[in-house]
């Protein structure tokens, strides 16, 4: 017999909502206290969230960890989410004191490459969530080599109002370049175009790219980076049921050399993948 019972259950816990505020229409930042049983999370990891004691939504919902902070014996995690359907709508109605069931931290986070010293973030919309944590982690963590602190962040949103979390990032990043679809602030156009316009200012040899956003945006980045042979990691999304690698529901197609078809599980093999692993 193996597995001591005391080791169990460290990853299923009750989270108590501290705050849940609208940052823009349909965009919310929620902060949740999860007790110190919550294991040290890596940027890029996610949590599965349910509203405690409710039968609906039926399945838990995955959200990236936007930030982690410690206050005394409790860990506070933040989630940055967009209301897109019924589950996120219900989440947005919760308030201080309401309880969640949290499973996590889950998945494989970003691989912070020690051999390269510039971090380039490309975030579209809520894709900023895991990248914000990555930026905070790199600036604050002892695990990250001192000199790897140069962070260049490209952040895109529909309009200026949706550039959420920008103030926080501005303090951490060495360079923050914003773009909006309507030009209401920064570059007018997509964040990928903005990135490509500024590629000259990036030291391609010493940089790693970290990217999160809508599928089409990541696909476009995937195509662009081929040209520059920069290592690039993407955080993928897929519908999930279990979040722990068991249901095989969250597959993305893997790039293979031959004709064989293989799938990767976003929840377990990812959500962060090297861009070259995915068959876009």
């Amino acid at each position: 017999m193996c597995d001591s019972v005391t080791e169990l259950n460290r990853m299923v816990m009750t989270g108590v909502i501290h705050s849940n505020d609208a940052a823009a229409e349909d965009f919310f930042v929620m902060s949740v206290a999860v007790s110190d049983a919550f294991q040290a999370a890596m940027p890029g990891q996610f949590v599965m969230v349910r509203i405690k004691g409710r039968d609906f939504p039926f399945l838990p919902r995955p959200f990236s960890i936007f930030s982690v902070a410690h206050e005394g014996g409790t860990t506070i995690i933040e989630i940055f989410y967009q209301v897109v359907g019924k589950g996120t709508k219900l989440l947005s109605r919760l308030g201080r004191g309401d309880e969640l069931t949290i499973l996590g931290p889950l998945g494989k986070g970003f691989d912070i490459r020690q051999d390269r010293h510039t971090i380039v973030l490309i975030a579209g919309g809520v894709g900023i969530a895991p990248l914000n944590f990555l930026a905070e982690y790199c600036k604050g963590s002892d695990d990250v080599p001192e000199k790897q602190t140069r962070i260049i962040c490209f952040m895109g949103a529909r309009t200026a109002d949706y550039l959420i979390g920008r103030e926080r990032l501005d303090k951490i990043c060495d360079t923050l370049l914003v773009s909006t679809d309507d030009g209401s602030e920064g570059y007018c156009g997509t964040v990928t175009d903005c990135f490509e316009n500024h590629i000259g200012s990036v030291n391609v040899e010493d940089s790693t790219l970290y990217c999160c956003g809508p599928y089409l945006m990541m696909q476009s980045v995937a195509r662009k980076v081929r040209k520059y042979s920069m290592p690039c990691q993407v955080s993928m999304e897929a519908r999930m049921a279990c979040g722990i690698g068991a249901c095989l529901g969250c597959s993305v197609k893997m790039k293979t050399d031959d004709e064989t078809v293989r799938y990767l599980r976003v929840c377990k093999d990812g959500p962060v993948f090297d861009v070259a692993m995915i068959d876009w």
Binding site: N9, V12, R239, M240, A246, G249, K253
Partner: protein
Amino acid sequence: MTVRIGSLELKNPVMTASGTFGYGEEFAPYVDLNRLGAVVVKGLSLEPRAGNEPPRIMETAAGMLNAVGLENIGVRAFVTEKLPYLRQHDAAVIANIFGETIDEYSRIAEILNGAPGVDALEVNISCPNVKKGGIAFGADPRDAAEVTKRVKDVTDLPVIVKLTPNVTDIRAIAESVEQAGADALSLINTIRGMSVDIDKRIPHLKNITGGLSGPAIKPIALRMVWEVAGVASVPIIGVGGINTASDAIEFLIVGATAVQIGTANFVNPRATEEILEGIERYLRTRHIYDVNDVIGTLNVREEM
């Protein structure tokens, strides 16, 4: 809490449902595997299978659709890579098997017959998400019997046959499979369903249809177990929408000797253990010392 499934004795009636518990190890951080009656592993085919193209799942009212398409590492990799870990635990290991042809079923069964640590086979003739095999065998009493016979021929392990609900009369299939030598029956597999994205006017699943599971289907599963309990003399394993101990007890009362927990594992990875504890509590508070005293005790005559 001991129950018997053919020659197999389980220390309690709570098992996992195939395809919802991986190969067990995925759940080790959440559940003490030693507490479970049995772990039924993800369906195994002769060769590894990549499964269907995504999207593969979609939430529905109190349930979910899946069209995973039996992605698995293949029976040989299971024996070498997954079985050693599972064997260390004090839970029976039941291998769920699937073939595109009757020959394949029998070859997988042969391979597993020699594998140390496998306690029983569960023959999946009911997967709705693959083009060949699966449901095709499960919907016809003769085909279902034929698969059962061929598997029985090559194995000494207890053979559980897993039935599909997508039929007019599940009793006919059950009877036929029992006559062919099945040591036990498990039911139900998922019910074929569908869901549509009204903005894009495309199915939510790439496979168009998928298998419905979860609490939504519990009343249907329970009815079928009750029906089959009326005709079968081998033990029945109840599956379908069991989310709480109370659900599990309903299945025992209508005649299931054991239960499998499926989709509930996704909602709460600790579901199996919590359901087991709930059954124990139910028995304790009612001073029932043997779970077998609950099995098949539905009273249909009493005044209500």
